[in-house]
Symmetry: C2
Subunit: 199 residues, 2 copies
């Protein structure tokens, strides 16, 4: 689930909210899973991964992450990321282009404070994406951390929120003959321009 | 479904095949849906969309597309794309980095010949991603095309396969406390190097 209680009332947001509720009613599993793509300029390659979107607050879309992994370097190089949802239960795809930045520290602190203890031990102890010899090696690190860490509510500096603000939406509705319905919203000169695209 | 009858026997391919069969057994819907990401150099932004993967033949992964839309320009600028599957039924994510190019013409011709007539009329008549005034406008174009097109088995030059060959795989297995299992394969000096990553 995504917390959308404080979502914006701008047109594409109203559309998102409607489609989100339809997918929720249709019991879409992992409705919060969104594929975030970025560009690795060093190796000149695209890179993407699913994350769990936690909040939409006004026009900001927020997930949490380790700040030292590869995606942070990629966001630094080029903050224009893409974000894609696909909800098979309703055959809906939502494609977003957005500008990303770190969330305010206080916001991340507060979210961390109310998170599950086990997840916080993981966030504190993992050097995300670093090479290890085996999965079991990390289980040892984690178990040692579980014993040592006294305050699991104190957010480490290397972990926190990312907020992205969309400047492009495409709402895609699948059709059995591929005559897909594609409606886009582009943010130009402070207004959302609404267009349709050939399938 | 993906046609994987002629898949390579290299290590990450065997692993993919195993996970694919598990997800298939667990009745994963839209198992062939893969998020393809590319980089739009003109606007300096990432862009991504889901496509249906049709074949894995030896070490080539193939989907079909219009050749004149935005993604083709992006593939031209930077052929190092990423491809991500997420199968919620087994909590499996597969992240791939790969080099992409157009499939041989004969291959695309042959695939087109055996495709559904209605889908082919769409492939012939649509100028994918071009702006239109309304969805119904395109329905008119499509209906006119249905009457006019005599040979629906002849592939138009603007439509065909894309084949990508992976040089990086990450197999990600979700864990309820986020102690996710991450195993990667990197193609270096003609061999697949196998490593593990911190969660």
């Amino acid at each position: 689930m995504i917390n959308i209680s404080d979502i914006s009332n701008q047109l594409p947001y109203l559309k998102f909210k409607k489609l989100y509720k339809e997918a929720l009613t249709a019991q879409q599993p992992n409705i919060e899973a969104v594929c975030i793509s970025s560009f690795d300029n060093k190796n000149r390659e695209s890179n993407s991964r699913f994350v769990n979107l936690k909040y939409i607050i006004n026009d900001e879309w927020i997930f949490f992450s380790n700040y030292l992994g590869p995606k942070s370097k990629e966001f630094n190089y080029c903050p224009n990321i893409s974000a894609v949802f696909f909800w098979h239960q309703t055959n809906t795809q939502i494609r977003i282009k957005a500008k990303i930045q770190k969330s305010p520290k206080e916001f991340s602190d507060n979210h961390f404070k109310h998170r599950d203890k086990g997840k916080n031990i993981l966030a504190i102890s993992s050097e995300q994406s670093k090479e290890i010899d085996s999965y079991n090696d990390f289980i040892d690190v984690y178990e040692q951390a579980s014993k040592k860490i006294l305050n699991t509510q104190k957010r480490p500096a290397h972990w926190g929120g990312y907020s992205f603000r969309p400047y492009y939406f495409e709402f895609w509705q699948g059709h059995n003959l591929r005559i897909n319905k594609r409606e886009a919203f582009i943010f130009e000169k402070d207004v959302w321009k609404n267009i349709f695209l050939q399938p």
